[in-house]
Amino acid sequence: MSTAGSRRPVDVPDSYHRFAGDAAAWLAAHVEELPDVDTDEGFAAHRAWERTLHDAGWSGLSWPREYGGAGGDVLHEAIFAEEYERARGPVRITRPALRFLGPALMHTADAAQRARWLPPMLAAGEIWCQGFSEPGAGSDLAAVGTRAVRIGDGYVVDGQKTWTTYGRHADRMFALVRTGPPGAGRHGLTCLAIDLTGPGVDVRPIRQVHGRTGFAEVFLTGVRVPVTDRIGDEGDGWAIAMRLLSFERGPDAGGPARSRRRLAALAADVAAAGPGRDRASDEREPGAPAADLTAIGPDLDRAAVEGELGALVARVHGYRCHTDRRVAAAWRGEQPGAESSVVKLYSSELDLDVVELGLDLFGDERTAEGTPEFLDLWHSRAGRIYGGAAEIQRTVVADRLLGLPR
């Protein structure tokens, strides 16, 4: 039986399908494994890779051409993000810049600033970081206390930022500081672009539970910032910060691809170790940790493991469908809003459940220090915190999506 009627799938012009094919082909020819991004050598290699991406036209796909972008749209970004994860491309150190710092500048910085900052940001010539969180302002961002005092044609900044991603390597910080009186909450906040290579800046890497130093503390002592590096007007800081966060909330098509990869890797280990499989035919790479289900007993209940994996298959698929739906809405022109909290709550719990099932099945050796699973465990666990703690996300859902009283 055939059905008439219009179809709900979005009709995507052929050019996008060709774009996907071109991206996949280019990535297959160019992606290679880079040294660990958490070393100086590795970061330099990732920076060079960003340059390669940029020069080949794959960076800033939705950015206007005047800033060195490709002049495409959100669907180009989504297609490339998925192909990139599928090709197992290196970590994008420009991720904060591309996803939200740059777009926020496009909407809030003046023409001279945009011309000065955006092209080098895109080409990874200048690395930017976000300077919002402070020791006393985590979930409660309006408690920001770093002071900026206007003196002559500039500001003098004193305070401390923390959890600054790539702070160790960053040249410039998109900072939220207090120009008004202390304790005024959302009022009296201002955004500054702070040169982190100048005097008065002390960057101290934070050693995290997994031994890496992706975050830093940034101490600012009498740091002079010219007024030409103020983003927007004095007192507009909160509105600009919210604008920035709205870009951060856009759909990330790479997220479901990473979750799929996490689950597929676990499934491959279970399949290799599970009952009825010939261990001799195990084709794992030499040196890879052995997957041995007998670690939890020879009478492992295969049906129970299948059930747990199957639940994760459904959830990973649901995450992808939801992202597909959000990409379509964004492509139609809908602004991302509070519903990004739905995604954050769902995906962070899902990723953690995948990692923890691996830990349950294979024991603590799986997450021994230095293994990829060790990094993944702690990184996934942090997903319940960074970008807004799960409790804050639930509050956003309750307030803005359900309309519950405060």
Binding site: T3, R7, G307, V313, R325
Partner: protein
């Protein structure tokens, strides 16, 4: 795997208004249904429609949703019907609604069956069994679609006398099990993981009945499972709506209980599960629109997520309502009991999860991901 660009789906304004337009029909059917006792043959002598609400639905033309317009139907795509079916779940009425819309009408149409017109206008009842042989309204059905190991078949008429009633708490359900001799034996594709046999019942020979083509290129099990998932999402969404309204207005300790974090977070978590399930149903429905071979798997994912959403909704919403949710006159228990029916029809969550897990371990799912450059989880972003 299809690329991102070819997986996008998004209801157009027209399609959204279609689903909205169906709401009053279900509301009217619900009112008609509650005015009379559900079930039992029609006193006018017609062969027993499930109730007055059923007539309202039949008169709306809805039952012909998947029939092409040139055959008197609405000519909707499965993805459009999924959105409408979710609305139906918000106002459940007695009768084999999901089975009629998604399975029986396409099956009768495939055979150009003489019953088709009467089923579409609500004057005759057809139904569909799930792989376990359970089906609603079998005693009054003139035809029933039964999934089998060698394909789906159409049985009937005169099943009524042999149907075994199954007891249920669902006020809107008249549940039956097919007589064992009528059920095809052997595992039904998509019904049991890892080739494990479905519960054996009846002789091994093929049942009497008319073999059906693969309905909409995916078959009766996948269609029934998808329709049920959409319906279950609707039930869960309605439960949440009731709980949110209650949390806004119920005052304790001098404030609405919806201001307490313990209540807010439970309801927020429920919303998250419902939204993801809704997206999965939409995505799977689009796969069915296309007759995509992945539809069997993606519909199963959607069915699992709909069951998870309902689990969260019934647990948290009943809690938020407190004592009033446990009273007979409140509609909550009707929805929860209806949800329990659909959380098990066409496979329980446990069965479906195992089906997916077995598929994953056998390398049938995620092939593209598993075949990538090197094994291992993704590297940290920070």
């Amino acid at each position: 795997m299809r690329s991102q660009a070819s997986r996008l789906f998004d209801p157009s304004a027209e399609q959204r208004s279609l689903a909205e337009a169906a709401r009053p029909v279900f509301d009217a059917a619900g009112r008609a249904g509650s005015a009379a006792a559900p079930g039992g043959p029609d006193p006018a002598g017609d062969p027993g429609p499930p109730g007055p609400g059923w007539r309202v639905l039949g008169e709306s033309g809805l039952f012909g949703a998947l029939l092409p317009q040139d055959r008197g139907g609405l000519g909707l795509a499965p993805s459009e019907l999924a959105a409408i079916t979710e609305q139906a779940g918000r106002v459940p009425v007695p009768g084999p609604l999901v089975e009629t819309l998604w399975v029986a009408v396409p099956a009768l149409a495939a055979h150009d069956h003489p019953l088709l017109a009467r089923v579409v206008d609500g004057h005759a009842v057809a139904t569909a069994a799930d792989p376990a042989g359970r089906a609603p309204d079998l005693d009054v059905a003139h035809a029933v679609v039964v999934p089998g190991p060698h394909g789906d078949v159409l049985l009937g008429p005169d099943l009524g006398a042999a149907a075994d009633p199954v007891s249920t708490a669902d006020r809107l359900e008249r549940s039956f099990r097919l007589p064992t001799t009528a059920v095809p034996s052997g595992p039904v594709p998509g019904s049991a993981p890892g080739g494990a046999a479905a519960p054996a019942r009846g002789p091994a020979d093929r049942p009497a009945g008319h073999p059906l083509p693969l309905l909409l290129d995916v078959g009766a099990v996948t269609l029934g499972r998808l329709g049920g998932a959409a319906y279950l999402v609707g039930i869960a969404a309605r439960l949440l709506e009731i709980a949110v309204e209650h949390a806004r207005t119920r005052v304790q300790f001098g404030v609405p209980i919806g201001s307490f974090q313990a209540v807010r977070h439970r309801l927020a978590d429920t919303h998250v599960e419902i939204e993801i399930a809704r997206s999965a149903v939409g995505g799977a429905a689009v796969d069915v629109d296309r007759g995509d071979p992945v539809a069997g798997g993606t519909v199963t994912c959607a069915a699992v997520l709909a069951r998870r959403a309902f689990d969260a909704a019934q647990r948290h919403c009943l809690q938020a309502l407190g004592g009033i949710g446990f009273t007979w006159e409140h509609e909550l228990h009707v929805l929860v009991k209806r949800g329990h029916t659909f959380a098990h029809r066409f496979g329980s969550r446990r069965e479906l999860e195992r089906l997916l897990g077995a598929g994953l371990l056998d390398g049938e799912l995620f092939q593209d991901t598993a075949a990538s450059l090197r094994p291992g989880p993704p590297p940290p972003h920070i």
